[in-house]
């Protein structure tokens, strides 16, 4: 598992390094006549990243194939919570903070453990209401408050 990830990672970092090198070459050079423009630092770093990712690839290659103990991962709750977070983020500005936060917390609480429904309802309501009240009313901050079609 680990080895596989290292191969992918080294390839990705190599690509990032190369892209930064190309990108820095396309930057306009310095305007005030200095020998050092905005391109030099990213260029050096990009080259360093390329060298390091080659080194990582080599290191991964010479390491003996060690099979680590495989743990059981809880994919289902993770995927639900991840999706919930994504929906929360995307709907935050249209539906508003209070409603989305309440729903998000309730869904996640119940995903973590399917028990204590009433307690979950109370805690998510308190959290979203309290944060909104303290931040918007007391501290005069800005949060998207209610659905925009209201």
């Amino acid at each position: 598992m680990v080895l596989k990830f290292d191969y992918i990672a080294s390839a990705l970092f190599l690509a990032v390094g190369v892209l930064f090198i190309i990108g820095s070459k396309n930057l306009e050079s310095s305007s005030y006549g200095s020998a050092v423009g905005p391109d030099i630092f990213p260029f050096i770093l990009g080259s360093a990243l390329v060298l390091l990712s080659i080194r990582l690839f080599y290191e991964t290659f010479i390491t003996k194939n060690q099979q680590g103990t495989k743990e059981k991962l809880q994919y289902k709750p993770f995927l639900i919570i991840f999706a919930a977070t994504l929906i929360y983020i995307l709907t935050l500005e249209t539906i508003g903070y209070v409603i989305t936060t309440f729903l998000f917390l309730f869904v996640c609480f119940q995903t973590m453990e399917r028990s204590k429904v009433i307690q979950s309802l109370i805690i998510s309501a308190c959290f979203s209401g309290l944060v909104y009240f303290l931040y918007v009313e007391v501290l005069k901050g800005t949060l998207p408050d209610w659905p925009i079609w209201f």
Binding site: V2, P38, L52, I81, L86, L92, F127, Y135
Partner: protein
């Protein structure tokens, strides 16, 4: 003005009612962060930056910076106190710098001496905190005077040393750590270049013009990443808390632990100053030292008080020592101090030698508040340790989603952008996969924070020398820094090759 005058002024700042409150909230949350396994000082501080930013919004800029840093630093050293509680009572360290404490602390708890172990670790932490503060005050002025003489070439090499040291000690593979450092530095170049005004790597996306916000990255990688890990690797643990009876240590125990506390404090302080080392290493070293010089080394591991006193003093001393390079040189030596530095920079306060001249209120206010905070922690931890032990039982069912909600609220409150929230979520995923595969995250954040300064100094040095790179090798101080950097990276590598175990720093 003399140092003492500044210090008194600092107390004037730290004793304003709201700053006392900020220090109190900071150490309280810090202790909670230390107690809760899963949230380390890094994610704790990162999570609280946006919260403090919104609370301090109504104050004038300099006061806001002072209050914010007082709270955030409180979280940092408060976590060092809190970490011992779970190590002793549960045999699960709340954060990595308390791992060693489990060896003797839990054994003591099993023998019914949990109370004395807890109180000794609180007292040790307090003594260490005060000793390091005195050293910090004594060293701050001279060090920043020296640092003021540095030119851009020296600064560049010094920052390289800081980055190299952190990479050399972080994680199992130096290559991976270096990759993370370089990647962090590269991320820092995105946005408008502040020397020439050219937009770099923005692809004409307006959101990228101001650069990638360090806060989003830090909260995403540390806090959200940690949360994802907890969800994915859910483990059922039975929390059986050892009973605490008679909190006060006996006279014999106090006498026995006086030496370890003193040695642990001094050792921890010096380890803390070194970039890259940190609280975790300091606690390891001091435990090993105590075992070496003890007359009865066989007693270690069976519940001896010295095995609790030394590492707990050392990790606290190290967290104080780590403030020295941050405040006087502007170079954070660890992930947590990098986040603190990022927080200061959000308030337009640049840590470094000029900090003590330009913003004496911030610098000395922070130092004075650390005195107050340490006293609060001692008071909080002795009688209230039972209350804190209860925090461990906070059901994960509620804690985990709330951390995500706080992260999202915090990032949105500061950035007001959905893109940043998406980046936050992406960083959470990235943080999980990276740390799972032994890619240390602290160097990335350090690179991101230090990136613009490294680049500015590099370009200034090169502009002065007309593009001649030899300037870094001909100036003696700069050369010394570069040689140290080189050795720092090379020696662990050579030792590993010879098959020796190298102690690495897991915490940031």
């Amino acid at each position: 003005m003399s140092t003492l005058d500044y210090l008194f002024q600092g107390f004037g700042t730290a004793l304003i009612w709201y700053n006392i409150l900020f220090a109190f909230v900071g150490v309280l949350i810090g202790t909670a962060v230390g107690v809760l396994p899963g949230i380390g000082p890094m994610s704790g501080v990162a999570l609280l930056i946006p919260v403090t930013a919104s609370i301090t919004g109504g104050l004038p800029p300099e006061n806001a910076a002072t209050s914010a840093i007082i709270l955030l630093a409180g979280v940092y050293y408060g976590a060092m106190y809190g970490g011992s509680t779970t190590s002793i009572l549960l045999n699960t360290p709340g954060e990595s710098s308390s791992v060693v404490t489990t060896l003797d602390g839990y054994q003591m708890a099993k023998k019914g001496r949990a109370g004395s172990a807890l109180s000794i670790s609180a007292i040790g932490s307090f003594v260490a905190g005060i000793i390091t503060l005195v050293a910090l005050i004594a060293l701050a002025k001279p060090l920043s005077t020296v640092a003021l003489k540095f030119g851009p070439a020296e600064y560049f090499s010094l920052m390289l040393l800081g980055l190299g040291a952190v990479s050399g000690l972080a994680g199992k593979s130096v290559t991976k750590a270096l990759i993370m450092t370089v990647f962090g530095l590269l991320l820092g170049t995105i946005g408008i270049d502040n020397v020439s005004g050219i937009a770099r790597f923005t692809f004409n996306v307006p959101w990228l013009y101001q650069g990638i916000e360090f806060l989003t990255i830090a909260v995403g990688l540390f806090a959200v990443g940690e949360v994802f890990k907890t969800i994915l690797e859910k483990e059922e643990e039975d929390t059986e808390i050892a009973k605490i009876n008679n909190l006060l240590p006996s006279k014999a125990e106090l006498k026995e632990s006086a030496g370890p506390i003193a040695r642990g404090s001094i050792l921890g302080f010096f380890v803390g100053i070194l970039p890259g080392a940190g609280a975790t290493l300091a606690s390891f070293f001091s435990y090993i030292l105590e075992k070496k010089i003890s007359k009865t080394p066989s007693k270690f591991g069976t519940g001896t008080i010295a095995g609790v006193a030394a590492p707990e003093s050392a990790n606290n001393a190290a967290s104080g020592g780590a403030m020295i390079p941050l405040l006087t040189l502007g170079i954070p030596g660890s992930g947590t101090t990098a986040i603190l530095m990022g927080a200061l920079m959000m308030y337009n306060v640049q840590p470094g030698p000029l900090l003590f001249e330009d913003h004496p209120q911030v610098a000395w206010g922070l130092i004075a508040s650390m005195f107050i905070g340490n006293i609060m922690l001692l008071i909080l931890n002795l009688p209230l340790v039972k209350v804190f032990a209860k925090i461990i039982q906070t059901p994960k069912q509620f804690l985990i989603p709330m951390i995500i909600a706080i992260s999202i609220f915090g990032v949105y409150a500061v950035q007001v952008s959905t893109y940043d929230l998406l980046l936050l979520l992406g960083c959470g995923l990235l943080g999980y996969f990276l740390s799972k595969n032994d890619y240390p995250i602290a160097p990335l954040v350090l690179g991101l924070v230090l990136g613009p300064m490294v680049e500015n100094n590099l370009r200034r040095a090169l502009t002065i020398s007309n593009g001649d790179f030899s300037v870094f090798f001909t100036r003696p101080i700069s050369l010394v820094f570069l040689i140290i950097t080189f050795l720092w990276l090379l020696i662990p590598f050579m030792m590993k090759r010879r098959g020796k175990d190298v102690i690495i720093n897991i915490e940031g």
